[in-house]
């Protein structure tokens, strides 16, 4: 077994193992544990990208995923400050049984499709001079700014829209967030003819609200 294959097996076990642990009811009960296990999984995937000579993607995986997305996740988890009462263990229901069957079916289909796709595949030789720049920042960057120029610009628009949307969604001063249940006092008073003491009660409630 070559060293490359050995590293692959270690990283693959790390990636798949921590991903599975993330979802198990015992280890994945607390969202913060799930987030940390997912970070381990993403780091293992970064190692696999390095093994496959995808230099730019290795850096991006660590910077964007482990450095930005997962930090966002952990921040939100800590911000929500869930108490142990909020974390109840998942129960095995009919939905989960069906989900398991669907997942097995999808996995089987994926395996057959990937077996066909990988049959007789021989990798190109990266020591060949024409692949000397394979996967480097220079190559991928040049491609992004020439043949993929328009999608690249659209991606920047997408990120801008997402950033603005995230700020707008998470803002506190949205009206329906501040007052989720509108006070029904006025509506009921209009629907029913007022009693003799109706206006007094209404004024008292208004004063209590303000």
């Amino acid at each position: 077994m070559s060293a490359e294959l050995l590293i692959f097996y270690i990283l693959a076990t790390g990636a798949a193992g921590s991903a599975a642990l993330m979802l198990l009811p015992t280890t994945g009960k607390n969202p913060i544990h799930s987030a940390l296990l997912l970070i381990v999984s993403l780091f293992c995937l970064a190692g696999l990208y390095a093994l496959l000579s995808a230099h730019l993607l290795t850096a991006l995986q660590i910077i964007v995923y482990a450095g930005a997305i997962m930090v966002l996740f952990t921040f939100v988890i800590m911000l929500l400050n869930l108490t142990p009462a909020d974390i109840h263990p998942p129960k095995l229901t009919l939905t989960k049984l069906v989900a398991g069957i669907v997942a097995l079916f999808v996995f089987g289909k994926l395996l057959t499709a990937l077996t066909v796709a990988s049959a007789g595949a021989r990798s190109v030789d990266l020591s060949d001079p024409i692949y000397a720049q394979y996967g480097t920042i220079k190559t991928v960057g040049r491609m992004l700014y020439t043949s993929f120029m328009i999608p690249f610009e659209l991606a920047s628009v997408l990120l801008l829209v997402a950033a603005v949307g995230a700020v707008a969604l998470a803002k506190k001063s949205l009206k329906y967030v501040d007052a989720p249940v509108p006070p029904p006092a006025k509506l009921t008073r209009l629907a029913h003819p007022p009693h003799a003491d109706g206006p007094d009660v209404g004024h008292g409630q208004d004063a209590g609200h303000h």
Binding site: S2, E4, L5, F8, A12, A16, A19, M22, L23, G28, P31, S34, L38, S41, L42, L45, L48, L51, L52, A54, L56, L57, Q61, Y65, A68, I69, F73, V76, L80, I87, A99, G100, V102, A103, V106, F107, L110, L111, L114, A117, A121, R122, S123, V124, D125, L126, Y131, Y134, G135, M143, L144, V161, A162, A166, V167, A168, L169, A170, V177, P180
Partner: protein
């Protein structure tokens, strides 16, 4: 020439994708649900990188780059929505989010 068989890489991608799919379908915590979606996107990225390594094409890396950009946008908006929903409902359980069911 890499000594890792393409099939191994693709099976790892399929395993990660299925784990993410199981997470999306079975877990009831919105945060873990979003993490599972990230895992599925990563599995697809791994498959793309494996194929582009075997064929010597850099286009796969560009596509994976765009997937990372979309994943970042999705995570930002998704977590903002989780925050807004938590403020409204006081819960991150998708069983509690059934406003449209009534």
């Amino acid at each position: 020439m890499t000594t890792i068989p393409l099939g191994h890489l693709l099976i790892l991608g399929a395993v990660l994708f299925t784990i993410g799919l199981v997470g999306v379908m079975t877990r009831r915590n919105v945060l873990i649900l979003l993490m599972s979606v990230e895992l599925m996107l990563n599995a697809v990225n791994l498959t793309l990188v494996a194929f582009s390594r075997y064929h010597g094409w850099t286009e796969g890396h560009v596509l994976a780059f765009f997937i990372i950009a979309v994943a970042a946008a999705e995570a930002a908006v998704g977590l903002a929505m989780v925050l807004a929903v938590f403020r409204l409902k006081g819960s991150v359980w998708i069983d509690d989010l059934k406003l449209l069911k009534r």
